[in-house]
Structure formats: C-alpha cells, structure tokens
Amino acid sequence: MQLAVPLASLLTFGTHWLFSKSAPPLETHSYTLLFWEILGVSIILAIAQRFWPALREWMRHMSPIFTAAILLVGVWDMITSGFRLLPLPYFPGPASVLRSLIIDRGLLADSTWHSLALLLSGYTLGVIVGLISGVCIGWSSSVRYWGMPLLKVVGPIPATAWIPLAMVVSPSAIVSSAGLVALAVWFPVTMLTASGISNTRASYLDVARTLGAGRAYLIFRVAIPAAIPNIFIGLFMGLGASFLTLVVAESVGIKSGLGWYVSWAQGWAEYGKVFAALIIMAGFFSTLMTLLFKVRDRVLVWQKGIIKW
C-alpha cells in the first residue's frame, strides 16, 4: 500500500522510457529528472512513515489519489507520444508540456502575476459594490422596488457580452477588464446578499428591538450576520464568474495575463505552452477557491463548530 506511489511512478516512467527511445534526449531530460525526484521522495516517505504515525495517516489517505494521478500521466504519455493516437501538434505529451513549462517559466510567472492583480482588483471591487447594493436592496423596500428590476434585467447578461462596449467607453484596457470582472462578480453577490438580508428571521429583529437596538444595529449586527451563509454562496458564484470573465477579457482585450498567454501560444501553434498555461490556471484558480473555502470555514464556525457538549 505504501509503495503504490513509487510503483506507479516506476510504471509510468518505464512506459515513457520504452516509447521515447527515438525522441531527442533534450525533450525528455526534465521529465526523466521529475520522475527520479518523485520516485526518490516517495521511497523516502514510505520509509519515514514507519516511524511517524501522523505521516502514515496522511499517506494512507492521499496515496490512492497520488497513484491515480501518476498513472493518468502515464496513460496520457502512452496515448500521445507513445502510440500517437492524437494528432500533433495539438496534443503534446507530458514531457514536452513540462519542457514548455520550464522554458517559459519567466513569461508564465509574469502572466500569472498580471492575472492575479487583475482578478483581485476586479473581484474586490465587485464584492464591495455587490455587498453595498445587496444590503440596500435587501433591507429597504423602496430600494428593492427600483433596484430589483434593474438587477433582474441587467444582471443575467454575461459580463463578457459587454466587452465591445467596455473597449469603447473605458480609458484603458486594464481598467475595462477589471470593470468587467467586477461586473461579473457584482451580480451574484448582490442577488444572494439581498435575498439573505430580506430573509433574516423576523424574530431576531424583534429580539434586537426589545434589547434597545437602533437601525444600525439591526442592519450591521443582525441582518448582515444572518445573511453571511448566503453571502458566501454569492462570493463562490462570483469567483467562478470572475475566472471566466478574466480569461475571456485577457484573450481579447489586454496583452497580458494567462488568458492572453494561451491565445498567444495558440497563435504560434505551441500547444505545449497552451497546456502549460492550462496547468498553471488549474493550480491558480483552485488555490483561490480553496482559500475562499478556508475563509468561509473561519467565518462560519458558528454554523458547524468542532467541539460538542
């Protein structure tokens, strides 16, 4: 069981070695190196876990998924560079993707940085505006009367559909892209915040009133905390929408970021780089999602909690 990961990497690398005899060694050098590293680390861990129970627990939990991932890379290798079942250059093997990743690491890091800056500025703006408009719509019936129809008509338009207009209106492509991301985030955050606020249990508000609460207390200390679970749903939906909008805005508008990198690499038919960028994106976006989950778990401890008595 503990040797599943080293065995899988041996198997995957063995198939690679069999198939890649004809390939230039430069292509596969870093891939070979990677597998020696995985093999080494996994053998060291397999030995270390004998003396370290916490590590053993973790490995028992994680080793099936790691094994599967490594075998999947092997299957990918076999389909592409092995039997050449998929047309080149659209489907490069793992070795050449890894090579692109290493060769272009500077540009990729730079693109990731630009995407992160754009995403965070747009997301933050969208969340702030969305929270404010959501609270106003949820709390005040007159704001709801005028705001809700606007929200229902304008909100569902995909933010990317505004791209032609945004290009014309905005002074710079960066500003218009950030604005589009913000717009994509704003709609779900507003919608979910408003529904959370307006569904605050009436008895919480009644209790607060008999405790001497004024309007500020009712909004900020009762309605908003009560709406937090809903608000988080909006934040998650907004994050998903922001990824989509970011990539589209980058590939048509501005000349930086991972979205731009993908379409640029595609233009040169360097599909190794396209896949490299996709791998970076997967890591980048899922890290942000995970971070948001962690924030939620911290903020909503009162919903689940750990200790029972």
Partner: protein
C-alpha cells in the same frame, strides 16, 4: 449584587385595547385578534396569562413590547405610553432566538452593545452569566447549548438591560418536564432577586399556579380576559399540596376541562 437592583420595576396598564390583523384567506377582511382588553399589573408583580392557543396571548405581549401598535386603546408603562420597542421592556420567546453567530458571552452583551453602554457595563456580563449558571460556557456558540441552557442565555440577555418589565412568551414551553420545573424555580429566583414586573404567557396551568401572583384567563378569539384569579398560596409553593391541587381544579373547571359531569353539560 449592587448592579442587579438598579432599576425600579414598573406597572403596566392596558386600557381597552383592540387589535386585528389581515385575514390570511381574504386580503380585504380583517380578523379580530384582541377585543377590548383592559388589565393592570402592579410594579414587581408576576402575572400569568393563560388560555387556549390562538386567543391572542402573544399578540397582547407583542403590543406591550411595542412590536405592534393597537387599533384602539392605550398601553402604558408606569405613566408613559408605549409606542415603540424599548430596552426597558425585555421579551423572551419560546424559541430562545439566540443570535447563532455570537458566542454566549456576546449574546448576553447584545443589549449593552445595542444601547452603546458596553464599555461602562462590561463587568456586569460576568455577573449575569453567573446569575444564570453559565460561567463555563462564555465562548460556546448557541448550537452547543441544550434547550434549557439556551433559554437561560435568553433570560440573561433580556435581564442585563435591567428592564422595568419582563415579558415571557411561553419561555419554557419547549423544554422537557424536568428541565421545565428546574427553570421555573430559576425564573422565580431571578424574579425574587430583582423584583422585576413579569408577565408570563403560558398554556401550562401548573406553571401559572406555581409561579404567579395572579392568573388571567383569556378566552377564544377575539381574545378577552375572562377571569382574573388571585393566587394567595404561600411561597415557595408545593406542587402536590391540597391547596395547589384545589386551585388547579378550580381553574380547569373555569376553562371547562374538569372531569365531572356538571362541567360537561354546558
């Protein structure tokens, strides 16, 4: 204990109050919830309001709390008219309605925060937690608490404002029989300690007899006060004494629930 006897209890006067609500089945019609209610509660008195469900007990309590306005008539606290909710009239519901996002301590502090006096009165929070026996649970969230503990937090949260009147809307109705009896003693202890005026809505006749100075019996909608019974039994009361049981059967007879044939005939 100096802090606990800060506010003088106040009298409550309800004068010819009526209240109706839109009927649920017909938006144009109105359903009469309270028809001409008058009552007075002396300062420091503990009065129970007993009656079948739907007779408007809770509506009357919400009117006194200031959460609803009457159609006609007047409500006074001492000599002040009631026109909006206020911290001087605490309200405890059957559901403790603790704010689930706040710890026990922060729930109890809520009234102080709402009135912006937390700084001056922070030391009272510990005192009230001790008063209701929750010292060890300061940092627990409400979902950790049993029903009885949650209701004690709700009581402490209402009492920390030193209300002149405490309104209790079936506060023990959701508790099991043993917890309920223990909590009745607890509420009585708080009342004897602080002499707050208390109005207790209950559908448990034993609870009304065990706890209150006077028992007001309300009838079917539109709600009216049918009878007021002065409960002169000496405290602490014995639930199994013959006087207790006699009073109980008298009240059941008034409510037409007595087991004998004469009560069944009408």
């Amino acid at each position: 204990m100096v802090a606990l006897a800060e506010t003088e209890p106040s009298s409550v006067h309800v004068q010819q109050v009526t209240k109706s609500f839109p009927a649920p089945d017909d938006p144009l019609a109105r359903r009469q919830a309270l028809g001409d209610i008058s009552l007075s509660i002396a300062p420091g008195e503990l009065v129970s309001l007993v009656g079948p469900s739907g007779c408007g007990k809770s509506t009357l309590l919400r009117l006194i709390a200031g959460l609803e306005a009457p159609d006609s008539g007047e409500l006074l606290i001492g000599s002040e008219p009631i026109n909006k909710p206020s911290a001087e009239r605490g309200l405890v519901f059957q559901d403790p309605n603790l704010f689930p996002w706040l710890t026990v301590r922060r729930n109890i502090e809520a009234g102080l925060v709402a009135r912006r006096v937390l700084h001056e009165k922070r030391n009272e929070v510990d005192e009230f937690m001790r008063l209701v026996g929750l010292q060890g649970f300061a940092d627990a969230y409400p979902y950790h608490l049993s029903g009885g503990m949650a209701q004690r937090v709700a009581l402490a949260r209402a009492l920390i404002n030193h209300p002149k009147v405490l309104l209790l809307d079936e506060p023990l109705g959701a508790l099991d029989a043993f917890t309920r009896m223990r909590m009745q003693d607890e509420v009585l202890r708080l009342w004897e300690n602080r002499r707050t005026t208390m109005l207790l809505v209950t559908h448990d006749i034993d609870e009304a007899i065990y706890m209150s100075d006077r028992i007001m019996i309300m009838t079917q909608p539109p709600g009216r006060i049918d009878r007021v019974i002065t409960n002169a039994l000496a405290r602490p009361r014995d639930r199994s004494s013959s006087e207790f049981l006699q009073l109980r059967s008298d009240i059941l007879e008034l409510l037409h629930f007595a087991g004998d044939a004469s009560a069944m005939s009408d």
